[in-house]
Amino acid sequence: MDAKEPKDEELMARIAQADRHAFDILAKRHLNRVYSIARVMVKKQADAEDVAQDVFTRLWIYGPKWQDGKSAFTTWLYRIVVNCCNDHLRKNKNSGMEVPEDLPSGDANGEAILLQRQTESKVRAALQSLPERQRIAVTLTYFQGMTNPEAASAMDMHIKALEGLLVRARKTMRGMLEEERAEDARKLGTAG
């Protein structure tokens, strides 16, 4: 962020006074992050868009209630993201998995890109099959890079509970990815 650019906290103070320009800046600054987290948490792109819009709607509506110094702006924002994702997942419990888009091929380093996107796609699929709370904990901690206390605060839970979720998530993820690897090895063996 540029030194001249206003800080999130300053923008929030202006949003509390219904300053639309401040809201524009804040939305532009955080939308990609919020959208990316939503993409990991919910299964469809359209749903992630709904979640992101819902997050910024709540940010605008409850902006006047945000208190500087009570918690960091990002913690407050990610708590809204978690709540919106939870609400969305609760409403759409039976929605199916999105079919992944076609992978590119044929360019100069197509194979490397293909491999990278395949890996990314597998990790996303594994993340999305985690139970809801484990998925949120992993996303905030590893993808968003929050510290455990920050993630616990965003999820409104005790740090020990978060650590418990992460332990279980690690176990599940390890199991799923090992299974995946074994499956790949089996396929290669069959093909060879």
């Binding site: 939308l31 992050r33 992101a52 605008w60 209630k65 590893y142 690690r170």
Partner: protein
């Protein structure tokens, strides 16, 4: 030791949100009314906030007490006494022990 998948999760790219989404957000959202910073304190709002801050167990106990109180008033208003009303006697544990004294 950090596991491979943890690193892979860290390496997941931040996705570019569609331009239409940003346009929709900055066009539509600021037209919505904002919540007022200071809400008018009414008995209802104070009670609701108090209830939402409470632990579920305590809420349940208070709800239980309230139910018993309402039942007590309801029974009392009918003029029923433990001697004449079996339901009331069972509910309040008044099963005639005083007769034994």
């Amino acid at each position: 030791m950090q596991e491979n998948w943890e690193q892979q999760v860290r390496n997941l790219k931040v996705e570019q949100a569609p331009d239409a989404l940003l346009a929709r957000i900055i066009t539509v959202v600021p037209h919505l009314p904002q919540a007022s910073a200071v809400e008018r304190q009414t008995i209802g709002s104070v009670l609701l906030r108090f209830m939402s801050d409470m632990q579920y167990g305590l809420t349940l106990k208070l709800a239980g007490f309230a139910c018993v109180a309402v039942l007590g008033v309801a029974l009392g208003s009918t003029g029923a006494s433990p001697e004449t009303n079996l339901f009331g006697a069972l509910l309040f544990g008044d099963i005639g022990w005083e007769n034994a004294i």
